[in-house]
């Protein structure tokens, strides 16, 4: 069973929903912001790249312009070697950028003109030095300048960095400008040297992000920008290119002289973007930035946001739980009140509710229910007391009624009454007066209290009449008139009265609508006494009743009863019936005493009904003569 409280489970649900939304939002924000930041970083890096390219191109342009001017001057001058040497010396002395200058004469076949010696000047430690290389040194320089290529293309070009052969300390790059004669043959090449330190420091200082790498590519074998101390960086840089063919693609891109290029390189967590662009002289500048560094701050912000979010969700959970617990406290308290009420304390105190919401309605309903139940229970108590009073009165009535029916039987007679309710409408009576035995059995229509009142009247009148010694039909007639008078309720009494002269055994009888008597002659089968039915008592005044007579044999048993016997029903709604009655009476021996006979017949009725509720009063009388 889930024992988690309502407030907790509701809070958990709220937190579940809120955190789901929060995390989805976080993921979306992270993806979008990373994209934006990466795009922005690419753009700004490209901007930096172009700025740097312009910056790098400025001294190159200066050198180129200067060199071209001097070259033009030389070509028109056809000057003497001395003059040329002076121009060369003067150039390195005056120019801030050009620290070395040379003029090399070549023959039309491309070989170096040995008749016209090359002129070399350099500016070292604030003074001009002249340099006269031997032929081997000259070959080395020609290689550095890529002389063969210049002669072939007849185009000016910049060299890759190389170490000068004279006393200059730093690496240099040279601008080589060919001079062409009227036959379009190169007859001389003018060379201006420039230190590479400044370019190097510019490139190396180019770090828009931590761990980003800027490189200047002169050709495949000459790359500057990666210092030997950055060995880890070199490895990573190489790794980022070696994972795929990206480096080759970058080179291809650069060869195609495209402008504003960028690519994504590397794989896994080491991915980076690289932006690159060519300088006007064919050199290429590239900047590689690892995404990890670019997004570092944004990632840190996301982690901070996540921590704040989790912290906030925790606070929301506790606040929610607290608020819900406070709001639902009345329910908890009402349940305690309900439990108290269930234990019988209907005056259980209800919690106070100040709000005007559903809790208030629940409280009001509860209050209403409490009052209703209290009222109902009070009413029930009153009713119960009333019932108890009536029950005790009924008990008294029952005693009075059973007191009316004599239980001190003369010899040879026994009777019993079993009312269906507390009081009943059946009656019997007997008087032994001299040799005359009067007896009567009657049944008031209906049962319960109304029948019992009628029964009492009838019984009293009957007993009174028996004492007067009137003919039976007269007695019944008087009883009839007495009952019928004022009988607005149309109740009636079936009555059988008889008088037996115990000496002559002559029985006079009058039947007012009652069930016929069972006669059991000695050594004979029981039968129903044939009698005029007349009419039940109490219906019509002055009804002409008739008295009949029969002579009984000694040893005859008479059994009188009410319809409670013959109409007793079992659960299958079958009636006891006349046949069964005759059969049961037939089982009684002549020597059986009347009490046993009555009990036996009553027992057979109970056996027949087998616990089915008795729905009418039962009366049985047995007498023997």
């Amino acid at each position: 069973m889930n024992k988690r409280s309502f407030s907790s489970s509701l809070s958990w649900r709220i937190i579940g929903i809120v955190s789901t939304i929060f995390f989805i939002a976080m993921v979306v924000i992270a993806i979008v912001s990373h994209q934006i930041i990466a795009d922005e970083a690419t753009r700004s890096t490209q901007h930096i790249l172009h700025g740097t390219i312009s910056e790098l191109e400025k001294p190159l342009n200066t050198v180129e312009v200067t060199t071209k001017s001097i070259a033009a001057y030389i070509s028109t001058l056809q000057a003497q070697p001395k003059v040329l040497q002076a121009i060369s010396d003067r150039t390195v002395e005056v120019s801030e950028l050009i620290n070395g200058f040379a003029i090399l004469f070549v023959l039309p076949d491309g070989s170096i003109d040995t008749l016209r010696p090359a002129i070399f000047s350099s500016y070292v430690n604030d003074s001009v030095h002249e340099f006269h290389p031997d032929s081997q040194q000259l070959q080395l320089l020609a290689a550095s300048w890529n002389l063969e290529h210049i002669l072939k293309t007849k185009m000016a070009s910049w060299t890759a960095p190389y170490r000068p052969l004279d006393s200059r300390s730093s690496r240099i790059v040279s601008y080589c400008y060919p001079l062409v004669d009227a036959k379009l043959n190169v007859y001389a090449v003018v060379i201006s040297d420039m230190f590479i330190d400044q370019i190097e420091s510019t490139v190396e200082g180019l770090r828009p992000y931590d761990n980003s790498i800027a490189t200047l590519i002169f050709n495949k074998d000459n790359i500057i920008g990666i210092k030997s101390s950055d060995s880890d960086l070199i490895n990573r840089y190489k790794h980022s290119f070696s994972g795929n063919s990206s480096f080759q693609e970058v080179v291809e891109d650069l060869k195609s002289n495209k402008d504003s290029l960028h690519r994504r390189v590397g794989k896994g967590r080491e991915i980076a973007f690289v932006v690159y662009g060519p300088l006007h002289n064919g050199w290429k500048l590239s900047i590689t930035c690892p995404y990890k560094e670019v997004l570092r701050r944004s990632t840190q912000m996301h982690i901070a946001l996540l921590i704040i979010g989790i912290f906030g969700l925790t606070i929301i959970f506790f606040v929610c739980r607290h608020v819900i617990r406070r709001m639902t406290r009345p329910i908890t308290e009402l349940s305690v009140s309900a439990l108290n009420m269930a234990k019988g304390n209907f005056k259980a105190k209800l919690p106070e509710i100040k709000s005007q919401d559903e809790m208030r309605r629940l409280h009001d309903s509860f209050f209403y229910m409490q009052n209703s139940i209290t009222d109902y229970i009070d009413q029930l108590k009153t009713t119960k007391n009333e019932n108890e009073r009536m029950e005790s009165e009924l008990n008294v009535a029952r005693k009075i009624q059973s007191g009316m029916l004599s239980t001190e039987f003369p010899p040879h007679l026994h009777a019993m009454v079993s009312p269906a309710r507390e009081v009943g409408g059946d009656l019997y009576d007997f008087i032994l007066k001299g040799d005359c035995l009067h007896f009567a059995v009657g049944d008031v229509s209906g049962k319960g209290v109304p029948a019992s009142i009628m029964m009492a009247i009838t019984r009293a009148t009957l007993h009174f009449m028996a004492g007067l010694g009137l003919p039976l039909h007269e007695s019944i007639g008087k009883i009839n008139n007495s009952v019928a008078d004022g009988n607005s309720n149309d109740m009636f009494v079936t009555l059988f009265i008889a008088r037996i002269d115990l000496k002559t055994l002559r029985m006079d009888f009058c039947n007012a609508g009652h069930n016929p008597l069972v006669v059991v002659p000695p050594d004979g089968k029981p039968y129903f006494l044939k009698a005029k039915s007349n009419l039940a008592v109490g219906l019509f005044e002055n009804f002409p009743y008739e008295t009949e007579s029969i002579d009984l044999q000694p040893g005859t048993r008479l059994v009188a009863y009410t319809d409670g016997v013959t109409e007793a029903e079992n659960a299958a709604m079958e009636q006891y019936g006349n046949e069964r009655l005759l059969e049961e009476v037939g089982k009684m021996g002549h020597d059986m005493d009347n009490k046993t006979a009555v009990d036996q017949l009553y027992r057979s009725v109970l056996d027949f009904t087998n616990g089915n509720p008795q729905n009418d009063d039962i009366t049985i009388i047995s007498l023997t003569v």
Partner: protein, 100 residues
């Protein structure tokens, strides 16, 4: 118990199906009360399907008889089965109510 009441001209036809006992006597009494207030005094009751009547049922038949007599009409009970007829005979009701 089922009581069907139909009216034709000045005659009321009633058919009783079932038992008139402690549980149904009130229903019968209510039906009888309606008939007693009726202007058409002749009542014909078909008792073919009446299987039993208690003494309280008899009382209601009696009240109906008295009411019909007062209005100058006639109450007729038809096709009564022998068991029910016996009750009417024993109590002498056969003497005051027409049973055919």
């Amino acid at each position: 118990m089922d009581i069907k009441i139909t009216k034709e001209d000045n005659k009321t036809f009633v058919a009783i199906d079932g038992r008139i006992d402690t549980t149904t006597v009130n229903q019968f009494q209510e039906a009888a009360n309606e008939l007693m207030g009726d202007e058409h005094p002749d009542i014909d009751i078909d008792c073919t399907a009446l299987s039993y009547t208690s003494s309280q049922g008899l009382r209601t038949f009696l009240m109906l008889q008295k009411s019909v007599m007062k209005h100058g009409g006639k109450l007729v009970l038809r096709n009564m089965n022998p068991q029910v007829k016996e009750v009417f005979d024993i109590t002498g009701f056969s003497n005051i109510i027409t049973i055919i």
